[in-house]
């Protein structure tokens, strides 16, 4: 099969998955038994007359049969009308897009950290299978997935911000994306919205430094969510590859282990880690809700958590749809990139 037809098939599949996702989200919003869908659109405690409620119900098409409501819903989504968020006091889609760069910066940093730590750890564990290093890596990764991330985040703040400060040692910031002073006296012009990128592009190194320091603790806490998964997949996949005949051939040619692992095995073994990147990102975006709340990081997840406290389910459901869409699209991009690199996966 050619690359083009593969791309076409995957795009068609993307449409179908997004259709399915929108159905699930619509069902959550309108089809829950015992829940009046109108409630999501009204601020709790706001007095409204029966007439006003009825007219709002008509206006939102909530008096129509469900299949028709779904058509209206999808049509509105496609027009960019995702509803209005009371929490953000602006339309849901605008509110999410405004906070997207902060979340992307955090999630990408966490992905980089967890792959930078997880891939070498997985390789070492595979090469030293069942020996001390392997056992150590497995113990650390089991301990890692057992940590409640929100708790770990608070403990990191306690140690690296408070205790280090008490001891007069250099501290790391515990809240927000940027130092208050530097944001006031030497602000950057937003271009991508990613502080690290924008500050480098405009040559503001002090801003870059502050943004980087603010990123350390939250991205480390978030990376722990995916670190164990990366290690486990990398270890299993490396063990699998090392059993292949071509590795045996390389061994019998007398190649040093280093060359065999780095040049022959790694390329094939790393595939599963890369192809699960989309799923990993989804898990991280879920974790971002929690981590952003702990660190007052002004991203989408933090906003969604505020929405929960305000009973703003239009916003929370909109966030879910947004994250699911991102995950589906990233999965597609990863698969397509892989199909370009490795012709074997086109089938």
């Amino acid at each position: 099969m050619g690359l083009l037809s593969y791309v076409a098939r995957r795009l068609a599949l993307l449409g179908l998955v997004l259709l399915g996702v929108s159905m699930v989200v619509f069902f959550v919003l309108r089809g829950m038994p015992g829940v009046d869908p109108l409630a999501a659109y009204i601020a709790p405690g706001l007095p409204m007359s029966a007439d006003a409620l009825a007219s709002l119900r008509r206006q939102l098409h909530l008096d129509e049969p469900l299949p028709l409501q779904y058509v209206y819903y999808v049509a509105n989504l496609l027009k960019g009308d995702w509803g209005y968020s009371r929490t953000a006091a602006q339309p849901v889609l605008d509110a999410l897009l405004a906070r997207l760069p902060a979340t992307v910066e955090l999630a990408v940093a966490a992905v980089l950290l967890s792959t930078a730590l997880g891939i070498p750890a997985g390789i070492v564990a595979a090469l030293r299978k069942d020996r001390a290093a392997d056992v150590a890596v497995r113990v650390v990764s089991i301990t890692g997935i057992s940590f409640p991330v929100f708790w770990l985040g608070i403990i990191l703040q306690l140690v690296f911000f408070y205790y280090m400060g008490q001891l007069g040692l250099p501290t790391l910031p515990s809240r927000g994306r940027i130092g208050d002073t530097i944001a006031l006296i030497d602000p950057i012009t937003p271009m991508t919205g990613l502080y690290l990128v924008d500050s480098l592009l405009t040559g503001k190194l002090a801003f870059f430094g502050s943004a980087l320091r603010h990123l350390v603790l939250p991205s480390f806490a978030l990376s722990l969510i995916s670190l164990a998964a990366v290690v486990r997949i990398m270890r299993a996949s490396m063990l699998e590859v090392l059993r292949q005949d071509y590795i045996l051939l390389a061994r019998s040619k007398g190649l040093p282990t280093r060359t065999i692992v780095m040049r022959h095995a790694l390329r094939n073994a790393i595939t599963p880690v890369l192809t699960t990147a989309g799923t990993t990102l989804g898990i991280l975006l879920g974790g971002a809700v929690v981590v952003e709340t702990v660190f007052s990081w002004p991203g989408m997840g933090n906003l969604a958590a505020q929405g929960i406290l305000n009973n703003d389910s239009i916003l929370v459901v909109g966030f879910t749809l947004f994250v699911a869409t991102m995950m589906v699209v990233v999965n597609l991009v990863v698969d397509l990139l892989y199909a370009v690199v490795d012709p074997r996966v086109r089938y």
């Binding site: 399915g20 301990t143 057992s146 709340t293």
Partner: protein
């Protein structure tokens, strides 16, 4: 099967995990019987934020309540929710998965629905469902079942499909064993173990997810002890009274660690690829 189960003795780590979990489980079951309910209700502002001592092992919280009692009581709710969510998801998932594997006509629709559910991050979907249903622990549990069944469904279907191909099914059919008897007495029991092997680790995962969702606002409020909410309540006083965050967090960590240790062993034992 007995030989496989006996291998738990070979793994001291798994045994430690199992013992730890049993201890926590018993604590959770016994705590409400031993600790008087007044510990939760009675506010003593004179005893606010006391550090850990012989009288209050874990110190006291901002209401002056004994944190040790609260953490022990919370084990009850957290474990009850995590266990029932996984049980519910197992039930829904395995039934749907078995149906998909056995009834050709229903295979496509069930599996496509499963794919869609798996393409939405579960914590985020659970947030949406619990938020629409309204904030309460019960709704949180419902939401978590809603997002946890698909993985069991997919696993179960795969198991049933591969089991159907095995020679013993053909031989039994030749012997005149009917389809219902075949499914319930022969196919399903053989497929369940690898699916159930996932459960311990999943209980740990659900426990952490539940605590996290409770931390961000789905919690039951200050008068129902729950680990995630205790951490959230303690965060206000983190620099003043760090024990308020430390102890409930350690409780979550130890519980999920014990489940992951057992889960790791269960996966090794039941993973057909590692069994060879």
């Amino acid at each position: 099967m007995l030989g496989q189960l006996a291998s738990i003795r070979r793994s001291t780590v798994a045994t430690t995990g199992a013992a730890l979990f049993v201890a926590i489980f018993v604590t959770g079951a016994v705590a409400p019987l031993v600790i008087p309910a007044s510990v939760v209700r009675d506010v003593a502002f004179g005893a606010r934020l006391l550090p850990p001592s012989a009288r209050h092992w874990f110190g006291t919280d901002d209401f002056g309540r004994d944190l040790f009692s609260l953490v022990m009581l919370a084990a009850n709710l957290d474990l009850r929710v995590a266990l029932s969510v996984v049980l519910g998801a197992l039930l829904v998932g395995t039934v749907l998965g078995a149906v998909a594997g056995l009834v050709n006509r229903l295979d496509e629709p069930i599996m496509r629905a499963t794919d869609v559910f798996l393409s939405i991050p579960s914590l985020v979907l659970a947030m949406a469902i619990a938020s629409v249903l309204g904030r309460s622990v019960q709704n949180l549990a419902i939401a978590l079942v809603f997002v946890s069944w698909p993985i069991y469904c997919r696993l179960m279907r795969g198991q049933v499909l591969s089991e159907k191909q095995k020679p013993y099914v053909k031989s039994l059919r030749t012997l005149g064993v009917g389809p219902a008897r075949m499914i319930f007495l022969h196919v399903v029991p053989n497929t369940l173990f690898p699916v159930i092997a996932r459960a311990p680790a999943d209980v740990g995962l659900i426990l952490i997810t539940m605590a996290a969702l409770s931390y961000i606002g789905f919690g039951p409020g200050p008068y129902v002890p729950e680990w995630g909410s205790l951490v959230a309540a303690g965060q206000t006083y983190i620099f003043q009274a760090p024990w308020l965050v430390v102890f409930p967090g350690v409780a979550i960590f130890l519980t999920s660690l014990s489940l992951n240790l057992v889960g790791d062993w269960a996966r090794d034992v039941f993973d057909p690829r590692l069994r060879s």
